[in-house]
Symmetry: C2
């Protein structure tokens, strides 16, 4: 028997596109001699469909796609994820299901039992967990179907769950396991997946075929890396990251095993590729091509410019340099040099005339006050506004260049440098932004070296440096990481050896700036805990602030 994995890039709610992709992948798999093709979890809808699931029309269209795929399941079986209406009145309205389609019909449906409801996941909002488990027989093989999280409670050792679907399916002597996943990228997650697949294979001693999504849905990025594992616990194949691919595997060869093929997992390289895909798919799925961004001469906007050029092509990226009286000469030179290195269009607009117009208009109302954060913000907002004007006039999406460290502590201006349709690096700590910059320069200077080496500054008042108001990024980022990703509170952080006053100061800054992040553009998610839908903090909350 031959089993194909279709590692595809779905688009939420774009039923026509998802159907066509799967039909084409099915044809390819047939050419490759496959008996079965395996797609991802909720492949019909794209993941996560969120509240679209609550519309009747939406579910009807899902069922239409399943029927069309069933028709195409001739000479090949198609295994695909789609929602199912729960026929029982009690419980949630839907199941999250795996459809086994063969000979033009639905041969079997297995629902998902373990419904992640943490971080970005809200599955219990929509789905009833499966209560029955049955293997499906096809061409003389007994096949266990599982959906994503279903394999993440090996031997019931995951404290979140109380049942282990595969323990139940095992009682029916399956020959192998298929898993339909929608497992989002984070920079350390690929190894977790392999370890989890291995734990299952070691427990059940049968091969496991694991199909993931690729591509991004707004902030959520899927990296693919679908896995085929032999009973010997070796990765028979790990499919490439961030690429659509249809690949067919011979079951006998997989059973024999002894082969070990994995993808490289260097963190910064993965983040780089994920962000490029994130940009590409945000534009592609919205039907847009052109990006605009402000180049300050600093490292954040420089890194975003490189990512944008790589994602969209030099011809689709335009930069605006908007110096003020506080901008240093080298900043403008560095920005200009970068734009030239990238071969992207750039324009220069001095913000002083606008600044003066505001100053004059506000002077009678601001009499007796001094230059403060107001005037700093005016500069940032003039830039945001000029960029949005280019965005509106030319149909280009403004890319936001805030990094995670500054988004965390609120070191940014709402409607100014926080403006944009997509936050490209707002899940990348400043220290990793430097690492990204160095990575980009590994085969020759793309970013002028001065952009990497000079001390970071917002350049909104004379001789301003980030270090005036923030601790060193090395320390700041470590505290932020422990607080945000690891959810360690102040007591735990002090126990880890961080200075108590510094911890208090930083955590308060994070909490107090929830109101800013509530209005931040969606941030491409590359960590296990990104700002946005995966981190839900009350704005008026007073826990630490």
């Amino acid at each position: 028997m031959k089993i194909a994995i279709g590692q595809l890039n779905y688009h939420i709610g774009n039923f026509e596109k998802n159907l066509q992709s799967m039909l084409q992948a099915t044809a390819t798999a047939k050419e490759q001699g496959a008996d079965i093709i395996l797609f991802g979890e909720l492949a019909v809808t794209g993941y996560p469909p969120r509240d679209f699931l609550q519309f009747e029309d939406f579910i009807e269209r899902c069922q239409f796609v399943v029927k069309e795929l069933a028709k195409a399941a001739q000479g090949i079986a198609i295994v695909v994820g789609a929602p199912t209406v729960n026929p029982v009145i009690e419980g949630k309205d839907l199941y999250n299901s795996a459809y086994f389609l063969a000979d033009g019909e639905v041969l079997h449906v297995q629902h998902k039992a373990l419904l992640p409801t943490y971080d970005i996941f809200d599955e219990y909002r929509y789905f009833e967990p499966a209560s029955t488990f049955e293997v499906v027989e096809y061409k003389g093989k007994r096949i266990a179907l599982s959906i994503c999280e279903d394999i993440w409670n090996v031997g019931n050792e995951n404290p979140m769950y109380t049942i282990c679907p595969l323990d139940k399916l095992k009682e029916q002597y399956p020959d192998f396991i298929l898993n339909l996943s929608a497992s989002p990228f984070d920079c350390k997650h690929a190894q977790d997946r392999i370890d989890t697949v291995r734990a299952n294979v070691e427990r059940y001693q049968i091969p496991l075929f694991y199909a993931n999504h690729v591509g991004a849905q707004t902030e959520i990025i899927f990296d693919g890396g679908s896995i085929v594992m032999s009973p010997d616990g070796k990765v028979y194949d790990e499919m490439p990251y961030f690429q659509e691919l249809v690949k067919t595997y011979d079951l006998d060869a997989v059973l024999k095993g002894g082969i070990h093929q994995v993808q490289p997992k260097e963190k910064i390289s993965l983040i780089h590729d994920a962000l490029v895909v994130g940009i590409q798919n945000y534009f592609g799925k919205l039907g847009l091509k052109k990006a605009i961004l402000g180049l300050s001469g600093g490292i954040d906007s420089a890194v975003v410019a490189v990512l944008a050029q790589r994602a969209l092509g030099a011809e689709n990226v335009r930069c605006i340099l908007m110096p003020s009286q506080f901008s240093s000469d080298h900043s403008i030179q560095d920005a200009r040099q970068l734009a030239q290195n990238l071969n992207i269009q750039y324009d220069l607009i001095e913000i002083e005339p606008m600044y003066k117009a505001y100053e004059l208009a506000l002077r009678p109302h601001f009499a007796g006050t001094h230059f403060d954060v107001t005037e700093e913000n005016i500069q940032a907002r003039i830039r945001g506004m000029l960029l949005m004007s280019f965005s509106n006039k030319f149909g280009a999406i403004l890319l936001n260049t805030s990094n995670k460290s500054e988004a965390a502590v609120g070191y940014g201006t709402l409607y100014g440098d926080m403006a944009g349709g997509l936050s490209v690096i707002a899940d990348v700590y400043k220290t990793d932004v430097y690492a990204l910059a160095n990575y980009m320069n590994k085969d020759g200077e793309v970013l002028p070296q001065n952009i990497i080496t000079k001390p970071p500054s917002a350049e909104l008042r004379p001789d301003q440096l980030d270090s005036d108001s923030l601790p060193d990024y090395d320390i700041l980022d470590e505290i932020l990481y422990q607080y945000i990703e690891k959810m360690k509170g102040p007591k735990a952080l002090v126990k880890q050896g961080f200075d108590a006053k510094l911890v208090e100061r930083i955590l308060k800054m994070v909490d107090r700036n929830e109101f800013k992040r509530a209005q931040m553009a969606p941030a491409l998610r590359v960590s296990s805990k990104a700002f946005g839908m995966g981190r839900r903090i009350p704005i008026v909350g007073k826990y630490l602030s």
Copy 2:
């Protein structure tokens, strides 16, 4: 026996304040001769605490408050909601619990069984459902404790749930039921609550005491309206809306019944009061006093100005009039008149000098293009920026004045008229904004009549009217209501008799503008489905757009 209800305004994560409020209420109840005082669900933390629940320190502080309250439970029992650590490894880490504190100790803990995970609710993200149910005995009475949703599955008829906690407690012959709630306001919800309490009372034939929160937590508003119901199914008392109150009831009198006292439930009046409380609490809980807003002379900003003045006092509200060449004379006059009626400070700033500065700076880059939405947005953004400058300079929060109809169809400018810290009326359809305006004028002209009667216009180009690009608000709002609140898709709407093309056009506008709403300030929630945390729609989704 005498039972007090403490209907209080908690503050999320403000443990000191919540503890002090409850201690004071307990003292009041003792003075009133109460044997028991009942507080709300998760009263210790405020509701909803969201991901704060994932921090160890946060849970420790909850337990500290419970201990302090237990100490105060001398001569009176205190019933209070707080999270409990689940001692079992399997399952979620916490329970959502009711603590019965008496004689300085925890006499009983009952966990919540029915965990709402829909709309704004994410309880299954944090909590394990209760599996055991026990009444508590106190002073010779057997008391059934229930938490909010626990009473919303009467006789297992709610399709969302499969168990009915009170059916289980009933087997232990309770004398009465206590319910700790955190039931958010929407303009039709108070009657639902009474009906639900009645259904329980009719089923169990014993009194029910229902304690709700009051006050707002960012966008979520609690209206109170705590209920005491006699076994005869009559509302013995419905406590006032939007007010803190401690009130003690004699159990014998409640048992005897025959009394029916409810609060008036006029929709527009309730929305008005809810919005005033929403503004007050947003400012109060953030420790701020002053608001700023732009007055255009249109009805939306006028209504928000009135609400702000009523919430914060005339001395804390400041308005800026920012006319352009496209502003009509009557707009400025109307705005001025309104500010005078409200006795609030207003300033006038012509935006033309800024507009000209932008035009000049952009001219070389925009050569060959015409006046379009770009230039309209520039005007709106200059206003947003001026307002934010006042906000920064004087520590005043900018109130956003977008209504729900325009937020739905994207009729607004990001970083322009969509700017602000709090969206006051973004959950109020335009037709209800008119109703609010008329309600405000019921005892004499507050809003100049011309603001209500003139045709709505954004005044961003010559002779512009909302009706140029939008259908009549009567029709628009009805379609939006069916799509947003009732979650009816296009098929269902056409079946209801709406024009198919109009439905398609409007629904596409709603879906396409998800990216704008993703950056909208939190919107005070007054309907059963508000934009924000209760409505989760993918930005790149292509279901209808």
